[in-house]
């Protein structure tokens, strides 16, 4: 197996609010290896973005606060290191792509300048050399007439092209890990597919680890090797994508799969998970999912179910499925 590039362990993040602290991420652990695509799957508010923003240091702190945990990049803990040291790694070895490329790019700077800035700051290249590299990068993400478009501004590109610009910027320094935070959510389906293909292609070429944050099971099924399912700040299931999709262990994952539209369900009403995700202010005691769970028993309210290994490479946090696995699925 290839090297573990980024390993997050027991990460907890709280937000200070006027009504007391709120825990957005609670004891989250995952890791990504070179060449691997790890999907972090969850609804909005499940803490999937907050966890990556915390470890890269771009989370507004305060009001955010890292309560515990480590995030090691090749053995060095990003959370413990100083801002200056972290800047050597974040933006160079670990880079990020965001969802809405129109607001995520500086509107008054040409895209070339924004890409060139990476080379200028991290590699100390001259202005003209950096611009030349920026044009090459635009060409690399297949923006037509890259040499000309390098001087254009973000609003002069279409949504898909802008996301390519974001990718060019993130991949400019040939990073080890790419964290893509809902990179295709704002795009229509055909453009989405092309962006995902492009990420896969560049990943294979560079043997890069990709952390893909998404709420779209279809995206997970398409590109992810492994998947981490988050619910209300907790990891509820961790597995290889194929396993998780075929035999979900946690009832939440099961519910998500059940509510995916498919041709078989034609003419029927789409099943949904009853209820809504809990507010982080009032997470139910014990298992956060128990109020919506079809398999709930009394013991679910007793304590937060630990993430337990149910099979090699498979973890789940459900007392019914992990302590009484024989009875049901798996």
């Amino acid at each position: 197996m290839s090297d573990i590039l980024l390993k997050v362990e027991n990460l907890s993040v709280e937000f200070d609010t006027p009504r007391g602290p709120v825990r957005a991420v609670d004891g989250v652990s995952w890791q990504v290896r070179a060449g691997e695509t790890l999907a972090i799957l969850g609804e909005s508010g499940s803490g999937k973005s907050v966890s990556t923003q915390a470890l890269t240091g771009i989370l507004e702190m305060p009001p955010g606060r890292i309560v515990s945990g480590t995030a090691s990049y090749r053995g060095e803990d990003l959370i413990a290191m100083s801002v200056k040291e972290r800047r050597r790694i974040v933006g160079d070895r670990i880079t990020m792509v965001f969802q809405d490329s129109l607001s995520a790019l500086n509107p008054v700077q040409s895209v070339g300048k924004q890409i060139a800035e990476c080379y200028r700051v991290h590699r100390g290249l001259s202005r003209s050399e950096a611009m030349k590299r920026a044009a090459e990068m635009l060409d690399r993400v297949r923006i037509p007439a890259a040499a000309k478009r390098v001087n254009d501004y973000p609003h002069e590109f279409s949504g898909g092209m802008r996301q390519r610009v974001m990718l060019a910027m993130a991949l400019a320094l040939d990073p080890d890990v790419l964290i893509a935070d809902e990179p295709t959510t704002a795009l229509d389906v055909t453009v989405q597919a092309r962006i995902l293909e492009l990420i896969e292609e560049l990943q294979a070429e560079r043997d890069m680890g990709v952390v893909l944050i998404t709420h779209d099971l279809g995206v997970v099924a398409d590109v992810a090797d492994n998947v981490v399912v988050m619910y209300a700040g907790h990891v509820v299931e961790r597995a290889a994508t194929a396993d998780a999709l075929e035999h979900p262990v946690h009832p939440y994952t099961e519910g998500l799969l059940g509510s995916m539209p498919s041709a078989d369900l034609k003419g029927q009403e789409l099943p949904t998970i009853p209820g809504t995700p809990p507010s982080l202010r009032s997470i139910p005691s014990g298992c956060a999912f128990r109020t919506r769970c079809p398999h709930v028993v009394e013991e679910c309210a007793d304590e937060v179910p630990p993430l337990l290994t149910v099979a090699p490479g498979r973890d789940a946090a459900c007392i019914r499925r992990t302590t009484m696995p024989a009875k049901e699925a798996v």
Partner: protein
Amino acid sequence: MIRFVARRVLAAIPIGLIVTLGVFALVFAMPGDPLRELAGDKPIPAAVLAAKRAQYHLDDPFIVQYLLSMKDILTGNFGTTFAGADIADQLRLRIPVTLKLTLLANAFQWTLGLFFGIYAGFKRNGLVDKSLLLATLVLLAVPGLVAYFAAQYLFGVELKWFPVSGVLEGFPRSYLLPALVIGLLGFAGLARLMRTSIVETVNADFVKTARAKGLGEQRVLWRHILPNALLPVVTFIGIDLAGMFGGAIITESIFNLPGLGQFMFQAIKLKEGGVVVLLSTLAFVSFILINLAVDILYGVLDPRVRHV
């Protein structure tokens, strides 16, 4: 760019006609007879009065008077005031006074406004930010007239730090006090706008991107936050500059500075329609030019509104 400028200038012509016509009508509608006002209590011989009335076309219908005034303005043949002063000479003497006053006032206002606004925005909720919020609130609540008279009395009459009025002590001493008061009153709005604009920009997504690129805090502030936060401020500065002439009418009269504002004040008092329209036209032209400059500057700063 050239087409943009040409379009704006052409569009200004009909607006200019409406503005001048409106101003002239307002002066025309004012009660009182200008020549009698000029003479004060002294009786004027009927023949002199008639000659003067003919010289200034005061007995012609409104529209004829207006057209004659416009003809004078457009041909650069400004003539004399009712009191007999050559208007072209007056302009030559008075324009520099008003320019000095407004430029100095603006220098104070921009330096203070941008400096404190940027500082407070970057270090929000700090001591400077909180004191600024309070200080600007007080400044914004003070009416200009009160501030001018109070400053004149306190720093001119009592403390004698500055001349009370007039321009005998030349530039910059004679201009310092009025310019400082205008600048201080104007700086409050500018500083607040600058601060708010920065605070809003700090949370923008592209700032997050900049941080994720591993850029230093200084680079994020000056290269990414500030260029975006400045955009609304530029608009404000344009509007504010255009309002300066209106402010000059009051300040120049209070501090007895012989500038265009004071000229305007006297002309309105005497119902000198021709002079009022001439000065209004001047103000209007400078307004158009300033706006044009601001729009071009805006285009340089923000590519989304660039005029090709």
